[in-house]
Subunit: 275 residues, 2 copies
């Protein structure tokens, strides 16, 4: 008998994937965590019945969340990843030679533990000496940081459960304070087909906090609608005006310097959310 | 009891949509046609169990198939749409004032008939005096046309069933012959996540036939993986070098002139299919 995992991305639409077996399932202190071995996507991390990452398509999200802000900064040395316990963003951050320290603040230690066990191609660099893994509340970590980071990346779940504080104006203000005077911040901000209001609100809030605010997109097949947005706030550097010589060769599967620039060209109905 | 339509986009992955009711279902001479009223996407045309178009997201595919080649040509007057019996591409073509005649050659008259009935916002301009609707075999129509069209758009199903001939080198050669000496052609060429070989082959075949060959992408949530490719062949005009003054204001929901240019920046793993 074949088992299928179905994520209802809305009340009336979803994706469904054939499951070979469940590798692990538990209720953590924060959410329901399940690791599935799927036929199409390889191992898949599911939190509260939502796909977080899969071995086959994870590179899109992780490359685009990391490289767009990092290449927009002339020389990022100290970076923070809020959430992202699977380690995928950290893996991409470490490809930047300028980075001296990468702090990961994940609220749920179980995500880190089971990602290391079942998603080694994603979590494999969490033990790198440049990485400081802290199992802690990202909101609190931000609140007590001041002028500390060059780049901050928010790799959160949807704004339900443990991530609800990470989509607030207070959080964005805290991030601005935790960043150095030329810092850059980016957050995943969901999809424009089913969550237009979320994007509109996040963009407006971030725009009130940062002098330069831009949305960019990427295609992630296992995420709702396949069209994902990231909203970037920057104090000085314009991510759409990166000097060509700043782009260095990097081993990627999705990101290129051309795509960096192109990803800020928004479909009309997405651009309308910023006006 | 809720009914759900599930399209298996691969053997082990699919999408699923809540169905309010089936509006029409029949086996035509060419394929199984079903019109569903869905909760998330509005009315949905399904052929051989594959989603062809929906009221909610159809604009992406139709705008991108039509406007990219049409704006790449300085003054398209006579255009041909092969397939596309739902009328969506024709609706976009007619937005270009230079177009004097738009020929639609759809092999399955039932697609036209039921699109007019159940998808009026898509098929509503098929009765426009500039439109010539022919229920005929697109492959044969191409074979007997010579130096006739400025732009040809191939809006086909997957290369199974009636569309199998539309993904062959012979067809692309026929198209080159049916185009004027400065003509442009575009075809939908499926998605790079599940059909990489199809894209690689189509790109190689079109490149052997046209001096300028480029792939561009768009996000279509109800199509497999959400990342769709279009492959464009052109005799003279480079679609990535359109003069800014050529772009005129147009009532669209997805296409913009910025997105026109940006859509040719390919994810690294897609770009690799062209090398």
């Amino acid at each position: 008998m074949a088992t299928w995992f179905t994520e209802k991305q809305t009340d009336s639409f979803g994706i469904t994937a054939k499951v070979n077996r469940s590798l692990h399932k538990e209720q953590t202190d924060f959410q329901e965590l399940e690791m599935l071995e799927t036929e199409e996507w390889g191992n898949m991390l599911v939190l509260d019945d939502m796909v977080m990452t899969t071995e086959k398509d994870e590179f899109v999200y992780h490359e685009m969340l990391a490289h767009v802000p990092l290449f927009s900064h002339p020389s990022p040395k100290k970076v923070l990843v809020v959430g992202g316990g699977d380690g995928g963003v950290i893996r991409e951050v470490l490809k930047h030679e300028s980075v001296e320290k990468a702090v990961l603040v994940e609220i749920d230690g179980k995500v880190i533990e089971y990602s290391k066990q079942y998603l080694p191609s994603i979590a494999g660099t969490l033990d790198d000496p440049r990485v400081d893994v802290q199992v802690d509340d990202g909101f609190m970590h931000i609140a007590k940081s001041e002028r500390e980071y060059d780049v901050i990346m928010v790799d959160s779940t949807e704004p339900v459960g443990p991530a609800v504080n990470l989509f607030t104006k207070g959080f964005y203000e805290g991030i601005a304070n935790a960043l150095k005077e030329d810092g850059i911040f980016v957050a995943q901000t969901d999809n424009p087909w089913f969550k237009a209001d979320l994007i509109r609100q996040a963009y407006a809030d971030i725009k009130e906090t940062f002098p330069i605010t831009k949305i960019y997109t990427a295609n992630i097949p296992t995420y709702p609608s396949g069209l994902w947005t990231f909203t970037l706030g920057s104090k000085i550097y314009d991510p759409t005006q990166v000097k060509p010589e700043r782009f260095t060769d990097m081993d990627t599967k999705y990101y290129t310097s051309e795509l960096h620039n192109a990803s800020f060209a928004l479909p009309k109905f997405v651009k309308d959310l910023t006006e």
